[in-house]
Symmetry: C2
Subunit: 326 residues, 2 copies
Amino acid sequence: MRVLITGAAGMIGRKFAERLLADGAVGGQQIEQIVLHDVVTPETQGASVTAVTGDLSAPGAIDALLAHRPDLVVHLAGVVSGQAEAEFDLGYRVNLDGTRALLEGIRSAGLHPRFVYASTEAVFGRPFPDTIPDDLAPQPLTSYGTQKLMGELLVNDFSRKSFLDGVSIRFPTICVRPGAPNRAASGFFSGIIREPLRGLPAVLPVPREVTHTMASPRSAVGFILHAATMDTAPLGARRAVIPPGIAVTVADQIEALRRVAGDRAVSLIEERPDPAVWAIVQTWPARFEARRGRDLGFTSEQSFDEIIQVHIEDELGGRVPVADGA
Amino acid sequence: MRVLITGAAGMIGRKFAERLLADGAVGGQQIEQIVLHDVVTPETQGASVTAVTGDLSAPGAIDALLAHRPDLVVHLAGVVSGQAEAEFDLGYRVNLDGTRALLEGIRSAGLHPRFVYASTEAVFGRPFPDTIPDDLAPQPLTSYGTQKLMGELLVNDFSRKSFLDGVSIRFPTICVRPGAPNRAASGFFSGIIREPLRGLPAVLPVPREVTHTMASPRSAVGFILHAATMDTAPLGARRAVIPPGIAVTVADQIEALRRVAGDRAVSLIEERPDPAVWAIVQTWPARFEARRGRDLGFTSEQSFDEIIQVHIEDELGGRVPVADGA
């Protein structure tokens, strides 16, 4: 089994690669090689790892990657939402043309791999109901969502033509994101948990009544692994899946933090309303039916407490600094 | 007002151009120039007509067309369903890349025109309910439907960015198509009316219980005119519209033919089941809610009798040859 991961230096790519190295196999098949590609050098190291750094759109770059003849391609590379909105041409070049070139390269090489594509819940845009049903027409309101949805359609058509065997995952917001705070509008969903657990202050820019659907980084890796190994026959022509997540209000998040880490952690959250962030957050879906995703065997956390526990186990070595007096 | 029509030599393009020439204006604005483009020379002639023949994907072709600085662009050009399925690369090149290049050309030239895009009800694929609601997720099961849906998404995003003001029309089957029988799987819906009206035999390859949604060529021209002149504010970000059509069974079609042209016309229809055609037809949508299209002011025929009358008026000079003893 040979695996190619694009966008392998990103948070999910890195965690997925580490999981593969730890498991040594995917779906019972031993891993011979993991090719990691990104514009910055992927940090993941191992005997089976081949790291490739560069621009996917550079001439010959995709053919060189596919020369490793992967059986599994996990396509995570992309320009994120804010950048795709600000840089229109770049977003289309990377997110649409890059995906299409990879699909075309696979077709030309006759590889027929399992192809796991990172799509997004941002394919949906208002107006939508409180709970988004599985068969609601996506209506992206960003160039990023548009490009990802176009990528899904290509994955569907290339799968229907048997050029590859695709699964597109409409990722929910990943929480708790490890690492330093970033400037993504969704960053506070992680920040209000991650920082207080470490005894650091965090800002909450939106009302506590906001409902949002989240899954842990560990679940995100699980989604990819499941998409990589599942029987794709039940998908039919519909290769895009909404995986389950946990829909909680910010107030629920905060009470879960209190249960796990106590009042001191909660007291580190400062409510400082930010109308700009609030305006963006209001355009986002709150809840998803995700029945089809569950029926197809995708799983995630059952409560937000569990999401916090996963963060403590995977990022904090099982200890809570703030509870230790940090 | 300057108008550019791509695919102008096709049946709808020709009828739309003739309507513009007859009206001399669009939405109250006098027409100065109509630029007609197609791979074959458009037949439509008139003082304001500029005919351009060639491949839209040829270097400089789009820029040359846009140098006329159209206020209204009607993009009908495309490779049809069967050909896009048989010639995968050609379909993507013409239907996706051609549309995108036209949109990009408009953006580069800073034209901000009204942009009317010919999409298709083939963006929907099974499974779907008997009546397709306006907000059902499209699930194309052909490369053609995939490419048209991707085009819709581009029109949405380019409209959202105010590069143009787009309306995508998901055309139903057009009936009664004038001209000689063609080999399209849907051809019999027109053939069983068009041929008997002229005293000629026609073949019905599917059961009479088949339900299908249709609109006349005159309605198709009306859809384009309405899309060209409507207030687009109520569309919001959802630029794709399902216009109304008339949903009838083949048996309804035949009874309408009997009312309009008598038993002799009906006797010219030979039922000759064709499992290949029947297999294709079963994958097609039967009915559409189309409430949004109606609310947005799109109109079509109220009965299949009316569709036949339109054909008699527009193609047969108001006379029915078979009734005259043809």
